[in-house]
Structure formats: structure tokens, C-alpha cells
Symmetry: C2
Subunit: 117 residues, 2 copies
Amino acid sequence: MTVNVKSAPGVTTPRISCCGTDVADPLTEDEAATLATRFAALADPIRLRLLSLIAASGEVCSCDLLEPVGRSQPTVSHHTKLLAEAGLIVGEKRGRWVWWSTVPEALGDLREALTND
Amino acid sequence: MTVNVKSAPGVTTPRISCCGTDVADPLTEDEAATLATRFAALADPIRLRLLSLIAASGEVCSCDLLEPVGRSQPTVSHHTKLLAEAGLIVGEKRGRWVWWSTVPEALGDLREALTND
């Protein structure tokens, strides 16, 4: 039987499970919805390769993203747009090219959701 | 102009980009494909909440996953199956219930793909 003990706001009370184990509170629905949108942006090999390039390079001119992933400018532009809409990268226009860099806080939130404790 | 310098196998030669920046090598296509499958499994709020529960609890009886996420047994079973197929959790059947735990290496690979260097 699962027993829920009411507690004061902000106080986490461990659930006592039917099997006698303490079950931690999961992510809230809102937190999970935000993270799921960001993980969805990463569920594509080209976007992962672009993110890895941008993360490893610090700041990258979009002109330099084409050859390493072997895709055309419109394709790369489409995928960087999706990464940016998910809040994972930000771009700064300089002349005719956009320079991309990662959003460290956003990547940190995703890493934290993947920790084992 | 992008200049590619051929190097011995296993030796990474930085690309000299058109803008004079060093562009790192991206993930390989195979690495990216594997990671993308795993990230796709996380692109769902319920699966993220289940994973967070399992990760935080160490090992959890599937009977204890229903109430925290407010879903029925078939729904939870469907989502744990998808997490398991993606290699993110493993289950051990004990009696009528499955006990789930995370696969630390798989989560570690995903965290590594989200580092900023």
C-alpha cells in the first residue's frame, strides 16, 4: 500500500512504497515538459553533430558548420534554427553569417536530468 | 576556404576554417545515431519523470512508479519498455513485478554529449 503523508509546503516527505522502499519525488510536470522539448531537439543525428561542433569550438561561424557535417547551407540553417528554438544555442549575426555558441545553463539542466542520484 | 589536412589514422588535425577559427571534429555519424535514439526516448515528459524516479531511487519496483506519475499500469509499462529499449534502464523480474534501475554508462554517454568542451 502506498501511504502519502501530507507535509508543509516545500518539505519533501519520502513516499513509503508498497515494497518498503523510499520512492523519490519525480520531476514536476512543468520541469519535465521543458526538458522533453529540449531532448526532442537532440533526437536527431545531424543536430547532435552540430551541437558537438559548436560546443567544442566555443563560437562557430555558420559557414564552418557545412563541411564537417556534409550538409547544405539550408539544411544546416534549418537544424541550427531548431537547436536555437529549443534554447540550446544562441546566434549572433555578423555580416552575412551567424556565429553560434551554446547556452551552458540549458546544457547543464539537461546533464542534471541525467544524473544518477 | 576550408583546408583539410590528411593525417595518420587516429590523429586529429584541426580544420582551418574560412574564418580562421579551429573547428573541432563533430561526433561521428554512428555515434550521433546511437545518441539520437537515446535522446528520442527522453523527449517525453512521462518518461523523463519515470527516469528521474528510477535514478533517484536506485532500484524501484514498477508498482511504485504508478502513483508518483499518476498513470495506469499499462501506460507506465509502455514507457518503461521504451526507456529499456533505448538502453537507459534495465529491469529484473521478481514475482509479478519488475524492478527497474538505470544504466549508468548510458546516462554518462548522454551527459558527455552535453558537455561544453
